[in-house]
């Protein structure tokens, strides 16, 4: 049931290639897509910073932390490729780390904090998927969103919570 890890490179390439292959859109449409990609990139960079800090402070089980950090790096790499393909030479160089407050006092506390950030990111991807103009970006962005949804489950497990919310 384990997944083939080599697929990540193909999807990352698809994320960049999706935009490169797309026919030129109007300037406003392209600008809007770029804005949305930059917004997602900022969120992914914050998550990357968060997991780096959590690993340094032993606020997350090391195996899980390393996996989530690796995934965030792949997401950042893919989004940067998509932005470069849109002619954005210097994507956001970095963003301030999230305000963590007391998130690092324990592993469950950190997990609950990270659940909120991951869930917000999933919601941001859903907004972008609903409105982005480049249809070629839908599958690669969707595949990052679904990865984020699985991060939420992994963090609920780390926090000792139910893995699923009840059906709404």
């Amino acid at each position: 049931m384990s997944a083939d890890p080599t697929r990540r490179k193909a999807l990352a390439l698809a994320l960049g290639g999706a935009v490169a292959l797309a026919r030129p859109a109007s300037a406003s449409a392209q600008s809007s897509d770029v804005d949305q990609l930059e917004q997602l990139l900022g969120r992914e960079q914050r998550l990357q910073s968060l997991y780096e800090a959590a690993l340094e402070r032993d606020a997350i089980e090391p195996g899980l932390g390393a996996t989530l950090l690796e995934h965030e790096r792949e997401h950042v790499r893919g989004l940067e490729m998509a932005l470069r393909a849109r002619g954005r030479r210097s994507p956001l160089a970095g963003v301030p780390p999230p305000q963590v407050g007391t998130a690092f006092v324990s592993r469950p506390a950190f997990a609950r904090f990270a659940i909120d950030l991951e869930a917000e990111a999933v919601g941001a991807y859903q907004q972008v998927l609903a409105t982005i103009r480049s249809s070629r970006l839908l599958l690669p962005l969707g595949s990052i969103m679904t990865s984020g949804a699985q991060h939420v489950v992994a963090l609920r497990q780390e926090a000792g919570e139910d893995l699923l919310t009840p059906a709404r």
């Binding site: 049931m1 384990s2 997944a3 083939d4 890890p5 697929r7 990540r8 999807l11 990352a12 899980l64 996996t67 989530l68 690796e70 995934h71 965030e72 792949e74 997401h75 893919g78 999933v122 991807y125 859903q126 907004q127 998927l129 609903a130 409105t131 249809s135 839908l138 599958l139 690669p140 969707g142 595949s143 990052i144 969103m145 679904t146 990865s147 984020g148 949804a149 699985q150 991060h151 939420v152 489950v153 992994a154 497990q157 893995l163 699923l164 009840p166 059906a167 709404r168």
Partner: protein
């Protein structure tokens, strides 16, 4: 495309009923929750179809679906079927995104895709595997 998704969700709800019969302990409880997810997804997609003036497909009796289910003699076989089913659901919803022109349609299907990915992660956990395995989850691993 929406009709296909609704029909798939009806079938998935029935499948999770069958899967749940082979799971024990917390797995049985999660199967009930995931079955309720699928039923709600079918209702939500059906509502989108009605908004477009269409008639959504109805769910069928369990016996009409069961011949398509693999043999599930124990929990391991049930979880393998569950993983295959959820991967196909994730993929079907991500593929559907590319065919939907309206914002509310895409948003609904994206939200359902995320829930299917969560359900898949739970299947992984019940199988003794990590919940989050890949940075890009396409449903075709």
């Amino acid at each position: 495309m929406l009709s296909s998704l609704a029909a798939f969700e009806h079938a998935a709800a029935v499948a999770w009923g069958a899967i749940g019969e082979r799971l024990q302990g917390e797995g049985s409880g999660y199967a009930r929750t995931i079955r309720a997810h699928q039923e709600r997804h079918a209702e939500r997609i059906s509502a989108l179809i009605r908004e477009l003036g269409g008639e959504p497909p109805e769910g069928r009796p369990r016996e009409e679906y069961e011949s398509g289910f693999p043999l599930m003699r124990d929990q391991d076989e049930a979880l393998r079927f569950a993983a295959d089913l959820e991967e196909q659901l994730v993929r079907a919803h991500l593929d559907a995104l590319q065919t939907l022109p309206e914002e509310d349609q895409r948003r609904a299907v994206a939200e359902i895709a995320a829930e299917e990915a969560e359900d898949l992660a739970v299947v992984y956990v019940l199988s003794g595997e990590p919940a989050a395995q890949l940075p890009f989850v396409t449903g075709t691993q």
